[in-house]
Subunit: 491 residues, 2 copies
Amino acid sequence: MAKELTKRSENYSQWYNDLVLKADLAENSAVRGCMVIKPYGYAIWEKIQAQLDKMFKDTGHSNAYFPLFIPKSYFSKEASHVEGFAKECAVVTHYRLKQDPNGPGVIVDEDAKLEEELIVRPTSETIIWDTYRNWIQSYRDLPLLINQWANVVRWEMRTRLFLRTAEFLWQEGHTAHATKEEAIEETIQMINVYAEFARDWMAMPVIIGSKTESERFAGALETYTIEALMQDGKALQSGTSHFLGQNFAKAFDVKFTNQEGKQDYVWATSWGVSTRLMGALIMAHADDNGLVLPPKLAPIQVVIVPIYKGKDEMDAIYQAGEKLRKEIAEAGFAVKFDHRDTHKPGFKFAEYELKGVPVRLALGPRDVASGNVELARRDTLEKKVYPQAGIVDVIRELLDEMQQNIYKKAEVFRDENTYQVDTWDEFKDIINNKGGFVMAHWDGTAETEDKIKNETKATVRCIPQNNPLEEGICVYSGKPSVQRVLFAKAY
Amino acid sequence: MAKELTKRSENYSQWYNDLVLKADLAENSAVRGCMVIKPYGYAIWEKIQAQLDKMFKDTGHSNAYFPLFIPKSYFSKEASHVEGFAKECAVVTHYRLKQDPNGPGVIVDEDAKLEEELIVRPTSETIIWDTYRNWIQSYRDLPLLINQWANVVRWEMRTRLFLRTAEFLWQEGHTAHATKEEAIEETIQMINVYAEFARDWMAMPVIIGSKTESERFAGALETYTIEALMQDGKALQSGTSHFLGQNFAKAFDVKFTNQEGKQDYVWATSWGVSTRLMGALIMAHADDNGLVLPPKLAPIQVVIVPIYKGKDEMDAIYQAGEKLRKEIAEAGFAVKFDHRDTHKPGFKFAEYELKGVPVRLALGPRDVASGNVELARRDTLEKKVYPQAGIVDVIRELLDEMQQNIYKKAEVFRDENTYQVDTWDEFKDIINNKGGFVMAHWDGTAETEDKIKNETKATVRCIPQNNPLEEGICVYSGKPSVQRVLFAKAY
């Protein structure tokens, strides 16, 4: 069958690409580095969006929309931000095309050159803080708790579907506060929201922690991250939340009158997750047969496949199948009855396995006669026969169990692939040969961090939240260290 | 008070601008022609989106996402499309900035020039049909019923918030069909979906019809439109649905094998509505006091405002208000209890009137004592006292009634401002002095259409659906005509 995947053990990277394409999640477009998110992939993204949006609103945030374009000069206003973001980006220089006088087609109209070039937003701190200046006068205008769902563009040279694309979809929260404490609280609240979403919806355990200075967001005083472990032993940064201090307020002159009547600069945070989460979802759970979707994010939670020969058999099965579909739909589950006569049951089984549909019900003539149905669960691939009566209760319990089970499996994998390492030889051996999370002592200098990265490609993923202090010596430099930090190779 | 609006009768255009700004719907950004949609405006847009999205899904469509950028050459592939869309647009020519060697700031890196310029999508037919080529082989792959929610850019010279902006948000449906008949059916289905949404959700009566050849979408064989009448007597095109024939399939070589085993080009439709609907919503219903929102699209349907002096009064009122808030929220309505002590009741009354909140409950010490509450409805500004007990039922009925009433008021206005006109003098008089919809005979030629437009700025808005045939003579040319068509000045 054309849909067969490369095995993970043969070529993990090829397996991932195969899966994204063959499960109809996304594909490369004709435009370098830009992806097309196909309907099935987008349906998963919509489920991710809906839940995150609810969690943002439950914590008091509102959505808004800011311009796609940012004047070039804005990037220079915050010194470290320009270093991080204004380099590889899409630059709009003209606003008109005209007929080519020398042949068919259109050419850029040189008379329509912009006075100042516009950058397609790689992130929106600058344009948003430029706007906030007019929205904030007094402490009564604070906090300002705003989120935006948007597309952004970063001109990446090596792209991979969902993981690193020139254009991607994301949300970016941008909040403004009267005090430093409140801004820090918000930063931490949002990284916890992301971790909760990863755990309860994506069934993905993550390590919450803070970034080292060299891995921080350009312009941030502190960056919190959630780091997940993929099945090939590499880390995937899945969401970040930044405490920006007063840097952007100073760069864009955003002051407010505080309760004592004094002027002060506003405190800022920003936080975001992107379509990269789709990559995380795939690589955390999928197997050699295809996607394994946590039931809470599955666009189709239950599929019913009829097995029949000829029209007579089909009629009876159709009735039984339709009755099941209705019952399951009325109970609030996303169910599909695939009674297409253009494809064989075997094809459909493989198709829904590939697409990670949690529960498959197969319904043949014997099932109709006996009042039973065969149920296959995607996570363990186990099959079992149940009476049709009461199947909704079975499904309800099973989907809950699968959501837990998928999480536990990922957690066991993560724990089994987390190592406490005390020597440089062991560090290199694990990073190069096994992969996984390595907890090791580090002397806290950017210099050592850099050297470790150059020699092994491993980076400090984070200093875990509530990390126990423990005296030790840096695995690389032998200098004193007060705590272990989390190292890994990363996407 | 700073929030006072210009009156409609004084300066309609200024009234609109004032209202958009003062009701916190949107504002101009630092980027020419691009708007910031503020949280309150965006909350209305989210309600519009949610309902349309449901209606699209109920009619079998799925969402997907296609690239923001389109290679320049794509626009030349469909001959009439390039004329309509590839002119005023944002052109990306470079993909990198670098530090300015001559000073602070960044400049465009001339070494990073794209081989082919990229256009920020003004609409996505070309990139989508280029993608569909690989998705469609057989009639089994059809129909393809896809929608995209996205931002698009058209470099408009004269912009107005929501009505005409360089960047705007929209949805664009792009469907592919095996037969002409099915594609036409889809085109009509979707204009009817828009009309139903306008009527039942926006409380806005519209005329459904088809565009004349000169007003059609660039590349379409037929364009259907819904036209609404604004309070200043101008029409606002509120949604369009296009039958594209095989034009894009031929331009991008999208063929399929039909049931007879023969190759044929695929039939196409596209349809869209945008943040322009926000402009329509404002201008259809708002008054000199501010927005009037149909309850179904109001982010806040009920606001409770306490009226008190000092802390003692406040404590009792707070308890009663909070009890009301809970009851109303539990009944499923969007309710806000505004107990801020930083603003006076009068300020709050004006604020929520300006923002078009349908129902306002005012709660003072006497109300708490008597168990009553004063209710004000936004559409008629009537006030009436009700017992607090049973207020939820009052609100439920009232919101329904207001939704109907707002529609009826707009319908009466539309009908009173629709004229059957038979002479050129009368035509000019009404168009120039009264405004409104003018039903007049037209000879069916683009030449006459052009002359009428040049002399009066009125255009044929549409040939109404199920238009009765009626012999007559063209108001302008005196030539024979078979039907009246709908003329108006338009946004």
